[in-house]
């Protein structure tokens, strides 16, 4: 199917609008959406170990969520861990450059909260 992905970031400073935006249509096999309740220990995100083009995440909770990206191959740093703040949206692509300085595949995506629980909504694209 044709899948269209669009993004934008914008802010107005002293009356001047500053925007970065883009996107395009790609060929995709699947788009799966859902949500997952995350606790304060790492747990795998749905479909995170499967082949994918991208995983889009939105933190619908009121506390921060740590998103842990597992890369292979790597040298010392196997994980890139990012802060998905409450109300934040982010994209995990399928490939990273690891500290091995080579192209690495994202082999896992896991998440945990800073405290209590949060609902993380996802859009899984393959």
């Amino acid at each position: 199917m044709n899948l269209n992905i669009q993004y934008s970031a914008s802010v107005t400073i002293d009356g001047e609008a500053r925007t970065v935006s883009g996107g395009e249509t790609i060929e995709a096999s699947n788009m799966i959406t859902g949500s997952q309740t995350i606790g304060n220990t790492y747990e795998a995100m749905a479909g995170s170990t499967l082949h994918r083009t991208a995983l889009l995440l939105y933190n619908a909770g009121s506390v921060d969520v740590a998103v842990r990206v597992g890369m292979s191959p790597s040298d010392t740093y196997d994980y890139a861990i990012f802060n998905l703040i409450a109300g934040g949206v982010m994209v995990i692509p399928k490939l990273f450059i690891s500290d091995f300085n080579i192209v690495s595949e994202v082999v896992s995506v896991a998440a945990r909260t800073s405290s209590s629980t949060a609902i993380v909504e996802y859009c899984w694209i393959s």
Binding site: M1, N2, L3, N4, I5, Q6, Y7, S8, A9, S10, V11, I13, R18, T19, V20, G22, E24, T25, I26, M31, T33, Y42, A54, L56, Y58, S62, V63, D64, A66, R68, M71, T76, Y77, D78, Y79, A80, I81, F82, N83, L84, I85, A86, G87, G88, V89, M90, V91, I92, P93, L95, F96, I97, D99, V103, R112, T113, S114, S115, E121, C123
Partner: protein, 141 residues
């Protein structure tokens, strides 16, 4: 205070997934061009930020048909995502609702994001290089 808004939308076969984030920032910087070291600690390029002041950043590859390496540095090592044209990468620093930092690159599976982003640069993997970033800076207390 200005609010930076980030929206990501995916749509196909009549189904749309769209989410937005809004973050209050002090001010914002925009970077665009063929070379991009947007934080001075990465050296070269158009370094414009020399301190760990980013509250939120959207990184984008604007060159169709290309793949770009986005090397991020949170004080330990440079690594990061490979960006096709259709996918941006978004990073946030802690804003008081949990974790204090933006990221942590680690060998320890239980670590959490405790470090600020101190460096970021684009480099070419394949195809032309043209990128853009919008950086929202932290509120000054």
């Amino acid at each position: 205070m200005p609010t930076m808004t980030i929206t990501i939308t995916a749509s196909g076969n009549g189904v749309t997934w769209s989410r937005s984030a809004s973050i209050v920032v002090d001010t914002a910087l925009i970077q665009t061009g063929e070379s991009g070291s947007i934080f001075a600690t990465e050296g070269g390029g158009v370094g414009s930020i020399s301190y760990s002041g980013a509250a939120v950043v959207l990184f984008a590859n604007k060159a169709r048909g290309s793949l770009v390496k986005l090397l991020l540095n949170e004080g330990t090592v440079g690594l990061g995502p490979i960006l096709p044209t259709h996918l941006p990468f978004v990073m946030y620093s802690g804003v008081g609702t949990g974790f204090t930092g933006a990221a942590k690159f680690s060998a320890t599976a239980t670590d959490t994001p405790t470090n600020d982003l101190v460096g970021a640069s684009y480099s070419l993997l394949t195809g032309p290089l043209n990128n853009a970033s919008l950086v929202g800076l932290k509120l000054i207390s």
